[in-house]
């Protein structure tokens, strides 16, 4: 068992040695991730674990990938994608050029879902999707656009529920156990590392998607990230959060108006 003090020691090492700041992450969650990894990799002692994280660059890559949560889905929460399709993207379609930021994109499933929507609305050719994550190794996977074939049945159901009308299988080619998504989708994506904790705004967007990322941050850090998004969204642009996340307690929330039942806000 790892105790609270050890978690703090480890996270301080990670900040000092590797420059990643997890100190403002929700404590219970990050502690659980650390305890899980410690057990998974069968370390004999906390001292050994701490030393390895601090000194072994290769292992730190794994540490970073495992303590951040990289579980994601295509068209997760179909009603959310339905709202994007019907209410948000058609408005963005009136712009000459559409810039979207998927913040915390993990292995890319949301970015590809979004690209499919844009394609079906004939907007993909004038869109750019910036997909960023703290974690370089998940971005490598995202670039490839290959997802486990056994998930595709669920994704296809989600797609249909979200208002999709095409045959979902036209978007990918099955290759052994993987589904490789059409390169026309990824041709409009730019992948880059970006750390929401420490990096600044890098462009202005009409839509920012950041779903199920902020649940891992404490309140203060959430508010810092909302400020970062605020500096990165054009007037009348949109911010989309996860189904259990909210702008409500952020002091500047008054400058945003919620769209219907979904966790989508429009900057006024």
């Amino acid at each position: 068992m790892i105790d609270n003090e050890q978690v703090e020691l480890l996270l301080n090492d990670v900040l000092e040695t590797h420059g990643y700041d997890f100190l403002e992450y929700s404590h219970a969650s990050i502690k659980r991730r650390i305890t899980r990894l410690y057990a998974l990799d069968s370390f004999v002692s906390f001292a050994e674990f701490r030393y390895t994280v601090k000194t072994d660059k290769q292992y730190f890559k794994r540490f970073l990938e495992e303590i951040t949560v990289n579980v994601t889905e295509m068209f997760r929460d179909p009603s959310f994608y339905k709202a994007l399709r019907n209410d948000v993207l058609p408005v963005l379609g009136t712009y000459p050029f559409i810039r979207i930021w998927v913040a915390g994109c993990s292995t890319g499933e949301e970015a590809y879902s979004l690209a499919i929507l844009l394609k079906e609305l004939n907007l993909l050719n004038k869109s750019l999707i910036y997909a960023t994550d703290i974690n370089p190794s998940v971005l490598e996977k995202a670039k490839k656009g290959m997802f486990p074939l056994n998930y595709l049945k669920q994704y296809s159901e989600n797609y249909l529920q979200s208002g999709g009308t095409k045959d979902f299988s036209t978007y990918y080619a099955a290759n052994y156990s993987l589904a490789k998504f059409d390169e026309s989708l990824s041709s409009k994506m730019i992948f880059s590392t970006h750390n929401l904790v420490s990096d600044h705004s890098f462009n202005e967007f009409q839509l920012i998607l950041c779903r199920n990322v902020l649940i891992y941050f404490d309140k203060d850090l959430q508010h810092k990230v909302f400020n970062l998004f605020d500096n990165s969204i054009e007037n009348l642009g949109y911010l989309a959060l996860g189904s259990k996340e909210s702008l409500d307690f952020w002091p500047k929330a008054k400058g945003y108006k919620r769209i219907k039942q979904e966790k989508i806000w429009r900057k006024l």
């Binding site: 929700s26 219970a28 969650s29 659980r32 649940i215 259990k244 307690f249």
Partner: protein, 194 residues
């Protein structure tokens, strides 16, 4: 340990259930005292969806305040917090709620183990955890943590469970403080009030 130490007052109650637990829950809630002085957290396996069917069912059967847990919400005595479908739910030191969309545990999200384990360390001897009917072994590891941190482990009598596997595994692997029949669970909970 002395009886008096064992009887530390309850500061939080968590009920975990899976297949077959809904019947028990629907029987428990109408009988609960209106002024419980601890929060009740409910972790129930169910299909991932946006609908708050479970919340509505429970809400209609009690005068206690019932809501699906929001992230960062702080637990309050006399309120019922339901772990949302498709998220794990953890408890922070300051008694606020953290949600987590990490890998399923025991094929389940929310996983009962996850909530039991995180709350065990926070509430220690003030925690009471009840495990109800179910057909997998989620919750068993969590109950072990509850025991280790001095909390109270209560298991539904497997003979009264529609799906006995989960409480059976718990009885076999964890030393429970009490094994309680489904019909007597509400009375048991009301007695935790002090």
């Amino acid at each position: 340990m002395e009886k008096t130490v064992n009887r530390t007052s309850c500061t939080a109650l968590i009920i975990g259930g899976s297949a077959g637990s809904l019947d028990v829950l629907l029987e428990i809630f109408p009988q609960l005292s209106q002024n419980l002085n601890f929060p009740i957290i409910l972790v129930v396996h169910r299909k991932a969806s946006n609908e708050s069917l479970l919340t509505d069912l429970i809400r209609n059967r009690t005068s206690l305040l019932v809501s699906e847990a929001e992230e960062k919400e702080v637990l309050k005595a006399g309120k019922v917090f339901i772990a949302p479908a498709d998220y794990h739910m953890l408890i922070e030191e300051d008694h606020s709620i953290s949600l987590d969309y990490s890998e399923k545990i025991n094929y389940s999200r929310p996983s009962i183990d996850v909530t039991f384990q995180s709350a065990a360390e926070v509430f220690r001897s003030g925690l009471v955890c009840i495990l109800l009917s179910g057909s997998n072994a989620d919750g068993v590891e969590g109950l072990k943590s509850v025991n280790n941190f001095g909390g109270r482990v209560v298991i539904q009598n497997p003979n009264t469970a529609i799906m006995p596997y989960m409480p059976q595994q718990a009885v076999l692997q964890v030393q429970p403080h009490e094994v309680v029949d489904g019909h007597d669970m509400a009375t048991y909970i009301n007695k935790l009030n002090n």
